[in-house]
Amino acid sequence: MTTSYDYDVLVIGAGPGGYHAAIRAAQLGLKVACAEREAVGGVCLNVGCIPTKALLHAGEQIAAARHAADFGLTFGEQKLDIAKLNGWKDGIVKKLTGGVGALFKANKVAHLIGQASFVDDHTVKVGDKTYTAANFIIATGSEPAKLPGLDVDQTHIVDSTGALVMPDPVPARMLCVGGGVIGFEFSHVYNNMGSKVKVIEFLPNVIPGADADAVKEFSKIMKKQGIEIAVQTKANKAEKKADGIHVELEDVKTGAKTTEVFDRVLVAVGRRPRTDGLNAQAAGVHVTDRGFIPADTKQRSNVPHIYVVGDVASNPMLAHKAMKEGLVAAEVIAGKPAEQDAVAIPGVVYTSPELAWVGLTEQEAKDKGYTVKTGVFPLSASGRAMTLQATDGFVKMVVEADTDLLLGVHIVGPHASDLLGEAGLALEMAATASDIALTIHAHPTLGESVLEAAEAVHKQAIHIMNR
């Protein structure tokens, strides 16, 4: 590509969407720059996917040490050095963000430090300098939604970013406002670290978007682990007093109000797209009322040479969707036949057990007019799950009745996110339940439960009675 522009592609934002786009564009021989105003890696690496998983792992190790007593392994007094925990987590973040920086260098992606604002549809200003580019990829991501009445101070009342810094001591009483993925991941961490955690959710169900049976099983397990869950409940206001944070809770059905006292309140009520400072209108780029910049399946905005990927483009706000879209945008710009044509985008709650799914829920499939068959295999019948001390949960498969076509897979269980690999590939390959059932799965593995769920669709699972 020869142009009179400074760059073939200028990417705005170095989160997963942006850095995937930048690196792939560079791999394809384009001259690339990537502007970032905060830290390379975006929300995902710095204050999202990665640090949460580090804390979740630490919390799970605490729980595992407790469960080790079941097989005769006991320990003397346990000590958690909170400063070291936070440092370990930060070290992983640093390693990964440093890695992205190194990949930029190695791939010759120019890293522009500062906020990018459009001047016109081929020009941005980053700090004092202006740059021109033939194409832009907007990857400016998202930020936590706010909740009136609960002002985040990142100490007593925190959002997901504040919650990532584990305080010392661990708060005795924790309220999580919002029963979505992020809320439950933090609740699980704090619960394992010793907090008494309560989750409130406005809607009738937690983890909106997940299969109803899976959510039911998941909630049951979370409650068994000690997390209190109150649905159809909202938090009206919070007040710091000497004995803690007084939060007014309201039952949304009856309107009944109560006040409860906590030591830390996490506001995790969703995320909203972020376009502040971008000056999109200078480029003629359309921003919706809700702040999104919509894209077509080639990731093009309304301005054909300005692409948009990741959280700022659309829901679901997930890193792997951003990555895929980043690759598509880069390839389309390079003249490749790429398209965001994913059959399904997986979702995971990285608690222990995990809740992971890909494809349609049973209800979604019915709503779309499919005649549906399902197969469920409980992990209580899995030998591998027993040896892992993790028999809570199941694999549920949703299948089109007459064609056996796989529509969705919903897993509550250990390593559920690892099992999604097979489920996701199966959906993309238009596999049938038989394709999975006829594939040898190693014994003894958790993957056998995926096989058995497929067999259960045909009423032929071996390790349960098929009704």
Binding site: M1, I333, T403, L405, E428, T432
Partner: protein, 60 residues
């Protein structure tokens, strides 16, 4: 005339076949899929015969 018409509007094809069809400018709805439920594999796209010129996106 589409040889692939499912009630849900989907054309069942593996990812690599979708990619190849895009590259060759072939509409998958006209490709005969040899797999279960008419699932289209790479070989089916190749067997579809000479393709129309791909609607490429010229890089500027």
């Amino acid at each position: 005339k589409p040889v692939n018409a499912r009630a849900d509007g989907r054309v069942l094809a593996v990812p690599a076949a979708r990619q190849l069809a895009r590259e060759r400018g072939i509409d998958l709805a006209h490709v005969h899929g040899s797999g279960p439920n008419g699932r289209i594999r790479v070989q089916d796209v190749e067997a579809h015969g000479p393709a129309a010129p791909a609607p490429t996106t010229p890089a500027e």
